[in-house]
Subunit: 256 residues, 2 copies
DNA sequence: GGCCACCGTGCGACAATGTCGCACGTGCCG
DNA sequence: CGGCACGTGCGACATTGTCGCACGGTGGCC
């Protein structure tokens, strides 16, 4: 049927599918959805498959019928399942630690703070404390800057909470932070050099789920000498290690 | 970014937009959405415009920022706004009445019954009762058969409630009803000849909103002699009147 | 108060993408 | 046990979504 140009047809159709499923309590067959919207079976099935993938609809394993999914409710209570992120990232984190020779952290935003979801020690180091579950300041760490770069409200919240200075290098003004976040977006990864602890640096990159939504960040941290060159710029090899790992986890999440 | 083939990219993206908007309490700018999902501004804007059109997001008129819309909540409480359907159909209903020379009804499903949303009298007839707000049986009227044809759960409900016989022509078996509904889907309009009241017939067609979702039906009713030929088949001219009017209202709704 | 930069919006062309037809295998109903 | 109808997957085509660019307006900074 004629559809208004300038609007995305498949999104209109998917919203119609959701409305249709919401209209009645009964679960619907593919054929019924196709009939209701005057679509070919294939097209309806393709839309349903995608909606199922993103969690907006669920398919009853027995009857093969579709109903609304839990993902829609989560929109109200807003949030990503951190356990899934952690589980998906476990394998890759170890590999990153051994390849880079540095400790690895995986983080996500929670209440305007960075929560460390997973932590892998530096391979050849003995005395380290387990950071899992710990909260980090978003504006002073590479992990945090990645998460802020792709989440505007969190930036405002962080500024409202005050940009506390931990070292002389900590970004304490909204201007400086905004510039750093913009740089992070452009190149796709974040760098933090002595902004949180003296002598230490961090490199982090975003972990994306389907649609490109940033659901977390993964990064390495170590001494400035090991992560940076003499001009305090991040070493390309280490950046590549982080980036490729982040992309691998993203691909993994998107295929779930 | 690489996306899984077999899935619809724009739907994945739109779900990511919704999740992003749900993640924080703050309203987001187009730029912020685009940055967060690593999309060009244009693409993000196109997705947001479509989501706004279907009611899943709303744009603050002052700040131009986007937030989640009421349409998402309506999914939980499932239902179409009947007032909008009525308002949109008012003008066209009058025109249909004068062109066809018959009375016009607009109906929608409510609790497995057909509720008459709007009613226009037959032009040259004086004594008629206003049907607006009245409930009609779905299986015995043309309006109802259109609505059932595109809503499978309602069919089950109607069968559970019992297919009451009003005349000798009323379809009282699930089989006969299913066949009639299938026929209705194929040709895109419904016919009812002496199934509800003796001597009277009805012709109805679906009113579709965006995505093709059937939100209501519009039809004419009159004596069998005026609506049908000698073989009790619907007159082509009257069918065309109903169909073109239904299409016009659908276009109107889709452009809202 | 003026300037500049950024943002929201719209258009157009290209190519990627969604759509559609067809066919397979399966489960249910008769 | 046979037949039908449904869910699912694949592939080719053409439509459609995407992206780059440019305009007008607004807000912020100096």
């Amino acid at each position: 049927m004629s559809h208004v140009p300038g609007l995305i047809q498949s999104i209109e159709r998917s919203s119609a599918v959701l409305r249709l499923l919401a209209a009645g309590p009964g679960r619907l067959r593919v054929k019924e959805v196709a009939d209701a919207l005057a679509l070919p079976k294939s097209t309806a099935h393709s839309i349903l498959r995608t909606l199922e993938h993103v969690g907006f609809v669920e398919q009853d394993p027995d009857t093969a019928r579709y109903r609304l999914g839990r993902g829609l409710l989560d929109l109200g209570h807003g949030g990503i399942d951190l356990n899934e992120l952690r589980g998906r990232a476990l394998n890759w984190a170890d590999a990153l630690a051994s390849r880079s020779g540095e400790e690895v952290r995986i983080g996500a935003l929670r209440d305007d703070k960075v929560v460390v979801v997973h932590h892998v020690f530096r391979p050849d180091d003995s005395v380290q404390s387990l950071d899992t579950g710990r909260l980090l300041p978003p504006h002073a760490t590479a992990l945090g800057k990645v998460l802020l770069a792709y989440n505007a409200p969190a930036v405002e919240a962080a500024e409202r909470a005050g940009l506390e200075a931990y070292t002389r290098g900590t970004l304490t003004t909204a201007r400086a932070l905004a510039r750093s976040l913009s740089e992070t977006r452009e190149r796709g990864w974040a760098l933090s050099v002595e902004e949180w602890e003296a002598g230490r640096a961090g490199i982090a990159a975003p972990v994306r789920s389907f649609g490109g939504l940033v659901v977390g960040a993964i990064g390495i941290s170590g001494t400035v000498e090991r992560l940076c060159d003499t001009r305090r710029q991040a070493l390309t090899v280490q950046v590549e290690h982080v980036l490729s790992t982040a992309r691998a986890i993203s691909r993994d999440l998107a295929a779930s």
